[in-house]
Symmetry: C2
Subunit: 404 residues, 2 copies
């Protein structure tokens, strides 16, 4: 069902990152469900987390631990989100960190916990007693593919990508994993992204880059408009390649562009594997007066059930797109300046139906599995791009039948 | 498919209102599709209209004409929304008013036009040449039921209601019609509401009442979160009952309460007949710090595809409700104060899963076709109530297959 999705197999090792994977039976048996990342000493780590006020216990602890110490381990479980679990959930997440810290000789603050799965059920701590040693037993630089499967929930396919660039004759590797099939699945919650590079990125730059990269990728995708309680994206830089980034240099720009590619491939993979998705849709909002209004317009179109069902039906229903633009809350909107295109086919000209538009032209674009909706507001020079999918019968089936 | 919906048959006549209905073939043949309301001289009229920036030509003209003159006629067509039709759409709407004005000897500004149906196609003016005289030919006080059918688009059932109250031994009648099955259907756009009373309501009170009544009814329903380009709600007071309202009196309170009942029944009927609806859901947001945050929370829950699919599945998925509350944008949210109930079953207590809650209790509530989700924020004393429905396979079918 995933849209133009190729499972990535050719993972490149990131020096300084080893990964362990185990079957801990947090919730399901006979599947990998616990993943440990081990980071070489000196690795810089930055995270971007959900804005949901009800963020899960592990998200709280990630944020806190990142302020307190340099992370040496990530501990990820699938099957249980440890969200909506109150003080006990908080203690359980801390306990899981302490267990991994004790087994490896680091402090509990040097462990970042990530959970994804059912909301509101207590974490099965016996699973951590089983899973942590088992994962540590098979730590390896080559476990990326297996880890990609080990963090899946409702994902139908594992999501990963590697990119290498040459800097001064040295190879810099970037490899990442993501998971998520709806923007939120509070039963099997969460979008997660883990991206590691063996470049050395200064601590002063890391957080800014992580935010910028997320804003060009994971923060620009939407399946159903819901924001998970557990969404987390982590950038890790081990520095083991011998290449050190200095902000503002051309080398920094090359690495940033490579990171951006990895972030975008991983984020787009979530949309391609979106629950019930049959279409992968890019939404470009151009000539907005501000980033906020560009995103308001883009998300209003991307979230409109009427637009999404029309996309599913390959129905170039320009009226639904226009109506969504109109209700997006843009102030003092001059409709006469609005142009809307489906790929290169103009459907709205100066706020009305484009004279040259025919349903046949529109239908031809929407018959494709991938296309772009381009909306020009004619108000300024701000552009934003985001990615979404359609709303199909399968989306309803997946989410209505999910827990049964 | 409609949820607990009884077609109202027992319409009470509103003195001073006559209605004509005709088959004009604006778009479809062999069905009533044009309705004319004739209002007695001296009738006070107030309207509440869509906030969509791309509002349709007839909405512009309604607003303008209401400022210019005292309306004597409403002219309603179904099958074509006359939206996204540019300057020509504007001229066509004015032309339709002029045609009715000429046939009845009033000015064009005394006619309010309403259109609902396909967006972006030119209005078929021949249909008005046929329909206006035909509708005028059968003007009658008793045409409410037929008019209710004549304004339908994707509605599966006609929507109407009457209420009578006694004031000083005199009977005041309130009768209304509504249409709409999605909050927006840019193909067959629009929620419309027409409510008439034979009470005399002072002009100074009318607009305030229309706004307040809409804010307790049509502005508190949502099916899919989309706001139509054509949404319009009109309150008409003919004064022919001999009862005159003075603002602030107990008689005014009685009439207002009766109007509120009619507005709410008509608004709720739209949700009950919502596209694909199988559940009718009341959302109460209590103890908010402001009306805005109460509505933000309510609508975020009501619009969440994950909540709506869970309701469809009769799955008391409290995690999805909690996550929607969490992402609704409330500032400085103290989660520990949040309580959530399904009818009388508490599912969230102090921000976490309620200890006494069981899935069986939740499932028993959701097995009903009607229930209430009550969310207490513990932040202030503002309460808001709105109504919505679930998201079913049929919603996708209706909206994906619609134009074919």
């Amino acid at each position: 069902m995933a849209v133009n999705f190729t499972v990535f197999e050719d993972f490149a090792v990131v020096k300084g990152v080893r990964i362990g994977v185990a079957q801990s039976a947090v919730r399901y048996k006979d599947r990998d469900d616990m993943v440990v990342f081990e980071l070489a000493e000196g690795t810089e780590v930055a995270g971007v987390f959900t804005t949901n006020a009800f963020c899960a216990a592990p998200v709280h602890i990630c944020r806190r631990n990142l302020e307190k110490a340099s992370p040496r381990y990530l501990l990820i479980n699938t099957g249980n989100a440890n969200a909506g679990t109150g003080p006990k959930g908080f203690k359980n997440a801390e306990l899981s960190c302490a267990m991994l810290a004790k087994a490896t000789g680091v402090t509990a603050e040097q462990v970042l916990p990530f959970s994804t799965g059912v909301i509101g059920e207590p974490l099965n701590m016996e699973a951590f007693e089983r899973g942590i040693p088992a994962a540590l037993d098979n730590l390896s630089e080559s476990n990326w593919a297996r880890a990609g499967r080990g963090i899946m929930t409702t994902d139908t396919l594992p999501k990963g990508y590697s990119k290498q660039v040459e800097i001064d004759g040295k190879t810099v590797t970037i490899t990442g994993l993501s998971k998520g099939a709806g923007m939120i699945m509070p039963n099997m919650a969460t979008m997660l992204g883990f991206i590691a590079t063996d470049a050395s990125i200064p601590a002063s730059v890391m957080q800014g880059w992580a935010r910028k990269l997320a804003d060009k990728s994971f923060n620009r995708i939407t399946i159903d408009g819901d924001t998970s309680t557990n969404d987390s994206c982590v950038l890790m830089a081990t520095g083991q390649s011998g290449v050190t980034i200095t902000d503002g240099t051309s080398e920094a720009a090359i690495i940033f562009a490579a990171l951006e590619e990895v972030f975008q491939v991983l984020a787009q993979a979530i949309v391609r594997d979106g629950e019930g998705a049959t279409k992968f849709v890019t939404i470009d909002v151009e000539s907005a007066a501000s980033q906020k209004e560009a995103l308001d317009v883009g998300y209003t179109v991307a979230h409109s059930p009427l637009v999404k069902t029309a996309l599913y039906a390959s129905d170039a229903n320009w009226g639904r797109i226009l109506a969504a633009v109109g209700r997006s809350g843009v102030q003092n909107f001059d409709l006469d300046k609005v142009q809307i295109y489906l790929d290169d086919v103009q459907i709205v000209e100066d706020g009305g139906r484009c004279d040259s538009y025919t349903e046949e032209k529109g239908a031809a674009v929407l018959a494709q599995s991938e296309f772009t909706i381009r909306i020009q507001l004619g108000r300024g020079d701000i552009n934003e791009r985001l990615w979404t999918c359609d709303l199909s019968h399968d989306y309803v089936s997946i989410n209505a039948d999910y827990r049964s």
